[in-house]
Structure formats: C-alpha cells, structure tokens
C-alpha cells in the first residue's frame, strides 16, 4: 500500500486544524455564548437572549466554514503551484 507519508501528513494536518476549530468552536458556543445573559430584566429579555445566542452561534459556525474554505484554497493552489 502506497501512502506517501509527506502527502498524508499535510492532509492529516488539515484534518487536525478542522478538529481544533470544532472543539474550540463548541467550547465557545456552549461555555461562552450559551451563558450570555442581559443585565436588565423585562418581558422581552428571554427572547432577546435566545435570538442573540442563535445569531452568535451562527457567527461561530460561519467563521469555522470560512476558515476551512480559506485553508483548503491556500493548500490546493500552493501545492499545485509547487508541483508545476
């Protein structure tokens, strides 16, 4: 079985980055964003807090995806250029 260690190592590094971003992202969402509360109380407070949590969690999700996308693009074009 030919696995080409250096090629595999670069690809596993990409997976490692995605793993770190997921674990860190989950930590931010559940430990920081889900703990958010507002300093004042009104009838609208629970709704505002719920919306804020969803929006901020979505921001974390989009940041994940943008980071993965950027990294894949940089990796692909750099490797293609080097190979050329």
């Amino acid at each position: 079985m030919t696995l080409m260690p250096s090629r595999l190592a670069s690809l596993i590094a990409l997976i490692f980055f995605v793993w770190l971003s997921i674990v860190f992202g989950l930590f931010i969402v559940f430990r920081v964003i889900f703990e958010i509360s507002l300093p004042w109380q009104s009838s609208l407070t629970p709704t505002i807090v719920a919306v804020l949590r969803v929006v901020l969690s979505a921001v974390v999700g989009v940041t994940w995806l943008l980071a993965w996308w950027k990294l894949a693009n940089v990796y692909l074009w750099r490797k293609l250029k080097t190979h050329e």
Binding site: L3, W19, L26, W68, H83
Partner: protein, 329 residues
C-alpha cells in the same frame, strides 16, 4: 446472550449475507441494463450499479434477527429499518432517473424522520470538556438535518472504486470502539452488522471494482451511520470521525455555489492520464474536492487515492477517540 458475543455473530451473519447477495444482485442488474461507466479506467468498462442494496438488505435482516433473538425494545430497530429502507428507496429513484439535486437532501431528511418520530434519541448531548447539555427543542431538528447531511456527504465521497465501502468500514469500526469504551454494548450490535456488511461489499467494490454501490447503497449506508450515531449518543466523536466526508461535501458545495447535479458542472476537479493515473486539474473554475486536494501534490493511481482517503478517515476517527476521552466523566 452476551451482547458482545452477539455483535460478533451478527458481524459474521451480515458479512456472509452481503458476500453472497452482492454477486447475485450484480448479475441481475447487469441483465436489467443497470450499469454505469467506470470513468477512471482507460477501457471505460460497464459495471453493475445499485449493488450497495446488498448492504441495506443485510442490515435490515441483521436488525430483524437482533430484535427476535435479543427481545430488545422494538422502537430503535423499527426506526433503523425504516430509515435505511426510505434512504434506499430514494437512492433507487435517483439511480433510475436522477432526482433534482435540490430535492434529494429534502427527501433524505424524510428518511431521518423515523428516528425523531419514534423518539429513539436523547436530547442530552455530551460535549467535550463541558459535560452534558440539554437541547430539548433544537435536537430533533438537528437530528433530521444531521442524518440528511451525513447521508449526502457519504454519497459525495464515492468518486473512486472502494472509497465509500473503505472509508465507511473505518467509520463503523470507530463507532464500535467508541460504544465499547462507553460500555454501551447493546448499541454496538448494529454497527457490528454494518461493519461486517461493508467489509464484504468492499471485497467486490475495491479497485478494480466489480460492482458499484450506486446512490441506493451510498444513501442507505449514510442514513445507517447517521441513525446509529444518534441512537448511540456519540454525535460529537462521529462528527469528528467524519471530517473528511463533511469537509469534502462542504468544499464541493461552496466551490460550485450550491447543490448541483454532476452534469451541471462543466469543469472537472480531476482528469485521467494516459498512463492510468489521475491528476488534479489546474482550472480555477473546477470544484475543490478532497480528491483534488489529495492529488494537488501530483498524480496517483485510483487505489492510492482511496488508500489515502481511508488513512485520513482512520486519522479523524482517532481524533474522534481523543474527543471521546475528553467527554468521559
């Protein structure tokens, strides 16, 4: 009967059933003209399609045997069987006459619905470092979305001979290890059947493929993995183990700007060379896929690409294992 021993028996039964039914299905499909072109071979052979149905049949049979022998609660078994059957039916429809790429994910979400409707999930999700979190309202929606995404992600990760069967065998083994470490021996039974069935199917589907799994096989295996992940309560470790599949689907969808049929993509990510190797295209408009990333460093043979895909799935499964250790009380 001890559930670990029974898991071993069911592994053997599903292996045998798939090993014996796949050639029969291949012969039948060839006679019916249900064949596809192996585009990564110089002579472009016609290979029987939809043979992954043998895996679905074997899983349904294994689940039924488990329900009868162990007298376990029927709901999870019924949910699992319905989930696979609906996904297989969607796959057959797609194989016979391609479904709209926008309709397919919606239909696979329907395949996930038995898991939610029969209540075979727990809304208490374990998160690494943080313990358990209660997601009563959002969890059922997440379950349906997740199973649909996983089934389609596995479907997208099958461009080469043995890619689906090889990577999904690694995922099934990871699932068994996670459940064993968590002491959930009852939940290990169906993943063991899935592993047995996938290994038998890999025998025929590996390079040079004698059978193709088709959308029917890919979607039913994807739905099975999704359903077993939810029922086994190993969502986060399996999300990590499936990083190669999920990122491949994400890169592809992002670079083509949404859900598109293969025919709607004029630029291909890879091309076949005259010596039989495959190389990444340098066209800026071609979609980014995992195979293109693998080939960015130079051309490889088809079986070498699949070996790298399997190695990447094993690496992500090990990271899933590490994540699971962070989740343990």
């Amino acid at each position: 009967m001890d559930h670990i021993i029974f898991s071993g028996i069911l592994f053997g039964v599903s292996f045998l059933v798939t090993f014996l039914t796949t050639p029969l299905l291949a012969r039948m499909n060839k006679r019916l003209g249900l064949t596809g072109t192996d585009v990564h071979k110089m002579d472009k052979p016609r290979i029987p399609e939809m043979c992954g149905l043998a895996v679905a049949v074997s899983l349904i049979l294994s689940a039924t045997i488990a329900a009868i022998v162990l007298q376990v609660e029927a709901r999870p078994i019924v949910a699992f069987v319905l989930c696979i059957s609906i996904a297989a039916a969607i796959g057959i429809a797609d194989d016979l006459g391609p479904l709209s790429p926008r309709l397919k994910p919606v239909l696979t979400a329907v395949a996930a619905s038995p898991v939610v409707l029969l209540g075979t999930y727990s809304p208490y999700m374990a998160i690494p470092f943080l313990g358990t979190t209660r997601l009563t309202i959002i969890y059922p929606i997440l379950v349906i979305a997740a199973i649909a995404v996983l089934a389609n992600a596995i479907n997208m990760m099958n461009p080469f001979n043995g890619a689906m069967s090889g990577t999904c065998s690694a995922l099934s083994l990871a699932m068994i290890v996670y459940l064993m470490l968590l002491g959930r021996t009852t939940e290990m039974i169906l993943p063991s059947a899935l592993l047995g069935s996938l290994l038998a199917f890999h025998w025929y589907n590996k390079y040079p493929a004698k059978v193709f799994s088709g959308n029917a096989g890919d979607l039913s295996v994807g739905a099975a993995i999704g359903a077993l992940t939810v029922m086994g309560r190993i969502e986060v470790p399996m999300l990590i183990a499936m990083i190669p599949h999920i990122t491949n689907a994400f890169y592809l969808l992002s670079s083509v700007g949404g859900l598109r049929e293969r025919r709607e993509m004029p630029y291909r990510p890879t091309r076949l060379l005259e010596d039989g190797r495959i190389e990444a295209t340098e066209d800026g408009k071609a979609p980014i896929t995992l195979s293109r990333l693998i080939l960015a460093e130079g051309a490889l043979r088809e079986n070498e690409i699949v070996n790298i895909m399997i190695a990447m799935t094993i690496a992500s499964s090990l990271l899933g294992l590490l994540t699971l250790l962070f989740m343990r009380p």
